[in-house]
Symmetry: C2
Subunit: 249 residues, 2 copies
C-alpha cells in the first residue's frame, strides 16, 4: 500500500441533540483516535443541526478540502434522519433504494418485521457502497470520500473495524507524552524555544489536575520518531536544569 505522507480528514457530526447540550458527543474522540492510528490527521470537526441546507453546504466544503469526511448521525428510520437524502443532494445523485442494503435488512429482521420505517434505512445515494453494521443490521454507506456512520456510539464503534482497508492512511502519527509536576508558566519559555528549534514536531502543553495535584502533560507529535526523540531530549535537558519532577499520568 502506497503511503502518502499527509492524509487528512474532517468529521461532520449531524444532530440537534449535540447542539442542544442534551447529548455529549463521544464519536469525535473515537474517530480521531482511530484515524490517527491509521495516519490520518483530523483537520477540523463541525457539528451541524438536522437541516438539509446546512448539511449539504458543509459537506460540499469539507469533502473538497479533505481526503476523507466522516459523518455521524442521521441515518436511522425517523423523520429527523436526513443524512442519506442530504448526501445524495450534495453529490447530485439520485436518492434511491440500495438493493444490497434491502437484502441485508430483509434477512436481518423476522418475516413481517421489515416495516416501512425500517425500509427508510435502505434509501441511499445512487451507487453508494455499504459499511456493514455487526450490531444492529442497518448499514452505513460511503460515496467517493464521504463515509456516513450512525450517531449511536456503540454502533459506530462496531462499524469502523470494517473500514480499515478502505482508508488509505499516511505515515502513522507518532506521539510521546512527558508529564511533569509543574505549572505551564514555569516551562512556557523553555518549551517555546524547543518548539522554535523543532518546527516539524507539534508540541502541545496541557495542564491537568489529578489526585489533588497540578501538573502539565507535554505531548510531542510527528510522523518521524527521530524528530520526536531530539525534541524529547531537549525537553529533558531543561526539565533537569529546572529540577522539575517527571510523573506518571
Amino acid at each position: 500500500m502506497r503511503k502518502n505522507t499527509k492524509v487528512n480528514a474532517a468529521i461532520l457530526i449531524i444532530g440537534n441533540e449535540i447542539l442542544s447540550g442534551r447529548t455529549q458527543d463521544t464519536n469525535t474522540s473515537t474517530l480521531a483516535t482511530w484515524l490517527n492510528s491509521l495516519g490520518v490527521k483530523i483537520n477540523e470537526v463541525r457539528v451541524v443541526p438536522d437541516e438539509e441546507k446546512k448539511i449539504i453546504e458543509t459537506l460540499n466544503i469539507l469533502r473538497k478540502e479533505n481526503n476523507y469526511v466522516f459523518t455521524t448521525g442521521g441515518i436511522g428510520p425517523t423523520h429527523d434522519d436526513i443524512t442519506a437524502a442530504s448526501v445524495s443532494k450534495a453529490f447530485g445523485l439520485k436518492y434511491e433504494i440500495n438493493k444490497e442494503a434491502f437484502k441485508i435488512l430483509e434477512a436481518y429482521y423476522k418475516p413481517g418485521e421489515f416495516n416501512e420505517g425500517r425500509q427508510k434505512m435502505v434509501w441511499m445515494p445512487q451507487n453508494a457502497k455499504l459499511i456493514l453494521n455487526p450490531t444492529s443490521g442497518a448499514p452505513g454507506f460511503y460515496v467517493e470520500n464521504v463515509f456516513c456512520l450512525p450517531g449511536v456510539p456503540s454502533i459506530l464503534k462496531s462499524m469502523i473495524g470494517g473500514l480499515k482497508n478502505k482508508i488509505l492512511g499516511g505515515e502513522p502519527i507518532l506521539s510521546h507524552t512527558i508529564s511533569l509536576r509543574t505549572v505551564e508558566s514555569e516551562i512556557a519559555n523553555s518549551l517555546s524555544k524547543v518548539q522554535d528549534a523543532n518546527k516539524d514536531v507539534e508540541i502541545g502543553s496541557y495542564p491537568f489536575f489529578h489526585a489533588g495535584k497540578l501538573g502539565v502533560s507535554i505531548v510531542l507529535r510527528s510522523e518521524d520518531k527521530s524528530k520526536i526523540d531530539i525534541c524529547n531530549s531537549q525537553i529533558l535537558d531543561f526539565i533537569k536544569a529546572k529540577k522539575i519532577q517527571i510523573v506518571d499520568r
Copy 2:
C-alpha cells in the same frame, strides 16, 4: 430586558488535543446547556487546530453569521496558546497588554511569581473586556460578540456564571421528553405525521439502550409551551393506539 425571539451562537473549540482524540471535549455540552437556558440556540460547533490562519478564517465567518461566538482553549501561557493573538488579527486590533488583567494577576500571584510565562496571559486584543476567573486568576476576554474562554472544563464552568448579564438571550427554548419502550421504526411514520403537522416544534428521536433494554426518547423543543403541549398530546394519542409503554429515562 428586550427579548429577541431568535438569538443564536456558534462555539469554536480551539485545540489540537481534541482533533488528535487525546482529549474528549466536554465544553460544547456545558456551553450548549447553559446557552439554551438563556434562550440562545447553538447554530454550529467547529473544532480547529492551534493554527492562526485557520482560527482567524473560522472566527471571521462565525462572528458574522451568529449573534455570539464562544471560543474555548488557547488562552494559557505556552507557545501553543494563540487564541488572543489570533482574535486580535481577526478583528484588526492591536495585540497588547491589558492593564486591568495585569493588575488582577499581579495581585493574584505571590511577589516574584508573576513571571514572563504568566505575563503572556495578559496580552489581549486592544480594549478587550475581561471575563473574570474565580478558579485560577487568569481572565478570559471578549471583543464585540466574541467571548474567549479557557479549555480546562472546570475553569470554564466557573467563569460562565459571570457572563449571564452580558448575553442577551431570546425566549427560553423549552424542551419536553417522552421516553418509550419501543424502537424507532415502530413510531417513525406516526412521528413524521406529527412533525408535519407541527412545523414550529423541533422533534428529535433518540434510541437508547438502558439497563439492558432498548427504548426511544422523543424530544420536543420550542419557545412556545402551548405548541409543545399540542405536539405532546398528538404523540400520546398514537402511543396509546399502538399500546406503547412510557418509561422513565
